[in-house]
Amino acid sequence: MTANESKAIVVRNLDCGYDRKTVLRGLNFEVRHGEIFVIMGESGCGKSTLLKHLIGLNPPSAGEVVFLGRDFSGARGAEREEIQKRFGVLYQSGALWSSLTVAENVALPLNEHTSLDKKTIAEVVMLKLALVRMDSYAHFFPSELSGGMKKRAGLARAMALDPTILFFDEPSAGLDPPSARELDDLMKRVRDTLGTTLVVVTHELASIFAIADHAMMLSKESQGMVEIGRPAEMARQSPHKAVRAFLNRLPRGHPGTTQLHDTN
């Protein structure tokens, strides 16, 4: 096993942007197998843009994204599809297909991408829904679910093909604190029971401290990464005042929070 294969994700010199506008430059980071990796930063710093580049919705202007030792950004056709089946995405709104029931939403990737028989697919669907405590709502349509339920159902769909990596875009957004806490616990349970690698884009401090093994701070000013580390340690002893300010919930006008690369 090469060094790259021992990592779930390797990002090298990645430039992210859209419409010829570069948002993030020269990103380099790695995500280990089975860890929960949080991408954080203030609004507009490019967290969601980076996520879109990681999952292949936007092509990178430069650099590469390697999943499980295979270059995803350069992959085309069948190879790209094969890599895509290795990861699942939970979108901010759940993004369930509104014309299908919850069970049909989870079953669709299994019907399209596997040769499993209908009975097994139905069992796998109920298993995934049971894992996210949504088995009682299998026949409900997305419009009949609350925000938290939509996210749990979206997670069941993201897990349909037993992905190695799961991406989450702002999972706590729009949830009440108990629901957000339940989702955090669910994410940890998914990692612990299935061994899945989780990449979470969020700026919810409670979630970051509750779930993250490692976190990466992005900056709008420097258009790049500021620091990677364990959130609790970063909050206490980061060399960057802005990182400490962000993780300790200090206001933007707080002395020293405007410069990200000062070392005091």
């Binding site: 299994l110 499993l116 298993l127 049971a130 894992l131 026949h139 997305p142 037993d162 061994g195």
Partner: protein, 381 residues
């Protein structure tokens, strides 16, 4: 085996999955071997089902030979466990990998999904519900008409309340941007009318009356109907889709909470724009249609251009034009009103936007035909 959970399925398939059963004094041992992932073809379960059907005092699952596994193996184990629970026989999984055992504990009992409850009550109930729906729809239509009338009265009293920039934008979309498609359809309609009329009139040597047919039919009937149908598909549907999207993204709620009337803010500019532009488009369509009839008459039937124009002039009366323009006004109000009302009461989902758009076009076309029939009946009476 190495106790690695699902990520081990990243490797290629090293050995196809297989299943072996062994029965000894009533105890059924099930041996799983190979790679149990959805990427590999599943082995037959007949032997297992036959052994279970014969009866067993306990079931022991052994997975020492499993190299990789995912949810497909977990689902099979859950099915086995459920069958054991139903027949009240012990189910042992002591030799399963740690992660697999933990997952089996995580999913203690999958509740069977509750199918949606079937409607009960039969014919009378469904007829009653239909009637209630019909009355509800009629009430909503009446209420919406009242709101529009109220908003219009307010706009007449205080023209400032009408959002003129939006009104101009919609006018541009309804009028100049529709000239191409309306012109093409009207010209071809004129050509077709002339052609079909000529086939019949030629038998009596009365080709010149093609001019009467084209002129009167276009100005009284076909012009307003064709323009209204084109605008129902082009503009009415876009009103419905736009307002349904706004409803889905809670923009309409935001208007209401700020104290703005959605009818005043969204519907009235569209209603006014379409009502202003439709009669102009009908006049344009009439001219293009007559031009189409003239082209066919001159080039195919050999009718002199001056004779065609003078016959048309004699055949047409001011009342024909008035009826055509009055129809266009009624059609415009209906198409804009139906498009906006359907959009505003759409369900808040992607599906809702699609349903509202289709429904708006179907209802508008139905409205156009019914209103035209009423006009026809009234003019004969």
């Amino acid at each position: 085996m190495e106790d690695v959970p699902i990520p081990s399925a990243d490797a290629g398939i090293t050995a196809p999955p297989s299943l072996r059963v062994q029965q000894e004094r009533g105890s059924l041992s099930v041996f799983f071997d190979g790679d149990w992932t959805w990427r590999a073809p599943r082995p037959s379960l007949v032997a297992l089902e036959q052994a279970l059907a014969k009866g067993a005092t306990e079931v022991c699952c052994r997975a020492e030979g499993v190299k990789q596994w995912d949810s497909s193996l977990l689902a099979l184990l859950l099915r086995l466990r459920r069958q054991c629970e139903e027949t009240r026989i012990p189910f042992h999984v002591d030799t399963l990998p740690q992660h697999l055992k933990r997952l089996l504990e995580e999913v203690p009992q999958i509740k069977p999904p509750r199918p949606p409850s079937a409607e009960q009550g039969g014919l009378f109930k469904s007829a009653g519900l239909k009637a209630i729906g019909l009355f509800g729809g009629a009430y909503r239509a009446l209420y919406f008409t009242g709101e529009c009338a109220q908003a219009l009265a307010k706009a007449c009293r205080m023209p400032k309340v009408l959002r003129w920039p939006e009104c101009r934008m919609v006018m541009q979309e309804c009028g100049p941007a529709s000239l191409g498609i309306v012109g093409l359809i009207s010209f071809l309609t004129g050509c077709i009318l002339a052609w079909q009329g000529a086939l019949q009139l030629r038998q009596f040597g009365a080709e010149i009356y093609v001019a009467d047919l084209v002129g009167v039919a276009l100005v009284r009937e076909m012009g307003p109907i064709m323009v209204a149908i084109v605008l129902a598909g082009r503009i009415g549907a876009s009103f419905a889709a736009h307002l349904a999207s706004m409803e889905a993204s809670e923009e309409v709620d935001a208007l209401r909470t700020w104290g703005f009337s959605p009818v005043q803010f969204l519907v009235l500019p569209r209603l006014m724009a379409l009502t202003c532009m439709m009669p102009l488009l009908v006049l344009y369509a009439d001219l293009l249609g007559i031009l189409g009839g003239l082209t066919v008459s001159v080039t195919v039937l050999g009718v002199a251009r001056s004779a065609f124009l003078s016959e048309t002039w004699q055949a047409l009366h001011l009342s024909d034009l008035q009826v055509g323009l009055l129809k266009s006004l009624v059609f415009a109000v209906g198409v804009a009103g139906i498009g906006c009302a359907t959009g505003l009461k759409a369900e808040r989902s992607a599906d809702g936007v699609g349903v509202a758009t289709t429904s708006s076009v179907v209802k508008s076309i139905l409205y156009i035909i019914v209103v035209d029939a009423i006009f026809g009946a009234c003019s004969h009476a």
